[in-house]
């Protein structure tokens, strides 16, 4: 968990989207969350989601495999969530 003093996002409403096998494992394509206490970055959110239940654990079990985008821009796990509308989790893209 990151230092949340400056990056605090808790209480913020966030749309979380899942694609491809992340979507299939999680069991839904999209959900709206209130950002929990202590979740400041995209990586924090992934860890929090992974602890949410077996489906999520399965989707996020391989560290470094699931990629993320914040408001439709690819980001690293360290990217702060604060102010974002939408976060997406997906496997590495396989191209067209």
């Amino acid at each position: 968990m990151s230092d949340s003093r400056t990056d605090a996002a808790q209480g913020q409403t966030l749309t979380v989207r899942y694609f491809a096998w992340v979507r299939e494992k999680v069991g839904c394509a999209e959900e709206v969350l209130e950002v929990p206490v202590g979740v400041a970055t995209v990586g924090d959110l992934a860890l929090w989601l992974a602890a949410r239940g077996p489906q999520y654990a399965d989707a996020f079990q391989r560290p470094g495999v699931v990629r993320a985008a914040l408001d439709k821009v690819h980001v690293k796990p360290a990217a702060p969530i604060r102010g974002a509308q939408e976060v997406a989790f997906f496997p590495p893209v396989t191209g067209g």
């Binding site: 439709k72 997906f90 893209v93 396989t94 191209g95 067209g96």
Partner: protein, 156 residues
Amino acid sequence: MAARVQREAFDVTAEVSALTAGRSDIGSVVTFTGLVRGEADGRALRSLTLEHYPDMTEAELLRIDAEARDRFGLLGSLVVHRYGEFEPGDAIVLVVTLSRHRHSAFEAAEFLMDYLKSRAPFWKKEAFADGSERWVDARESDGSALARWTASATQK
């Protein structure tokens, strides 16, 4: 100078005509059409499904299209990528590059395809004739194809 993500089929002649209409500065038009092949790793394919991230995919395709245009001095270009479920033989991607001279049009089209095949935000699921399905893993060979463009940029 455009990129589209669509479910519908595309028509190469119509796309090229729209890009070249009324112009007399273009000498070379290269198109690449990617078709679904009927087998993958030696297994008979029944269908291929392409999933994408709406808006983000368009934005990425527009960005790479603009990069190709600048990098190769193109007079015009177009990327059309379909999503949805496809059968073997279906056309799923079209790249068109327009230039004064042919070499840059060829180079740009191959650059765009090397990008699209490895980095474009699509996820592919293969359904086989035997009923099994799998999500395609990111492939190293396509990453390598893309790497040579980075290497050539570094050499300059």
